[in-house]
């Protein structure tokens, strides 16, 4: 397999995640789409670790750091979602508009 095949797959997944994060109305799904985008980036890290100009396990270490940060982001994002749901009784992104008016 070549590097560009992995990069193209990662690009497709990133674009699907970006489209979902821009258009979906449910906050949980928006968070999941962000996780999908982070996953696509991790594929890039690991693909460059094998097929990049300097193959080494540094890419794996960076992918592991990205996974740890993504886990922290998911925990805080869902806690914010629970707080939002308690105050507004909804999970829709477009109803989070208290700062707008």
């Amino acid at each position: 397999m070549t590097l560009s095949a992995y990069l193209a797959l990662s690009l497709i997944l990133f674009c699907i995640g970006l489209y979902g994060a821009l258009t979906k109305r449910n906050t949980v799904i928006v968070l999941i789409c962000i996780e999908l985008m982070l996953n696509a980036v991790n594929i890039n890290f690991v693909a460059f670790a094998k097929y990049g100009p300097h193959p080494s396990v540094h890419g794996h270490v960076f992918a592991l750091f990205a996974i740890a940060v993504a886990a922290a982001e998911a925990a805080v994002g869902l806690a914010a979602l629970i707080a939002f749901y308690r105050n507004r009784k909804t999970v829709r992104v477009d109803e989070a508009n208290s700062l707008k008016h």
Partner: protein, 173 residues
């Protein structure tokens, strides 16, 4: 076409199919479960990229922990199972604009990566990559590793503080 190529295409197909199903389904739980397929396919791709340790971490953290925490968040909040309800934030114009922007981004990046090749055949990676990762983590990456532990602690406390009922809100109820 070698066996690696066939495995790559099958796993890539599974990953993209899971992501597209996530966009198309209407039930929130089904969306999360379809994304589990994507996460597992990505773990398989890590094995193809000779990153077995990252593959195991992917299965543990993404398919295990993050999926379960998302399902908990779905169960703790109320979701209308009405299929006729609008699933997206805007109308057709909003969706078309988002699709156009994403497509433009994708094509621009694809033009850059289409012919990218560094000529590496991937044979330079150590066979026992878990051992190599551990050695790098505890020597060269010690400080980032410790900072990640602080970050996880801060996220844990922050999640508790955010999700906790504040005193004023509890009195109002």
């Amino acid at each position: 076409m070698s066996g690696t190529d066939i495995a790559f295409f099958l796993l890539a197909l599974a990953a993209i199919a899971g992501a597209v199903m996530m966009l198309q389904l209407t039930n929130v739980v089904h969306m999360v479960l379809s994304l589990v397929m994507t996460f597992l396919a990505i773990a398989g791709l890590y094995v193809l990229l000779s990153a077995e340790f990252v593959a195991v971490v992917q299965v543990l953290i993404y398919s295990g922990a993050i999926t379960i925490i998302m399902l908990f968040a779905i169960m703790l909040t109320r979701h209308h199972a009405d299929d006729k309800e609008r699933q997206t934030t805007g109308g057709v114009g909003h969706k078309a604009a988002a699709a156009f922007a994403v497509l433009a981004f994708g094509l621009a990046v694809y033009a850059g990566i289409r012919t990218l090749d560094f000529g590496a055949d991937g044979s330079a990676l150590p066979a026992d990559n878990a051992k190599a990762i551990g050695q790098w983590l505890y020597s060269y990456y010690t400080i980032p590793f410790e900072i990640v532990s602080v970050l996880l602690l801060v996220a844990l406390i922050g999640a508790i503080v955010l999700a906790k009922k504040d005193g004023k809100g509890a009195e109002d109820e």
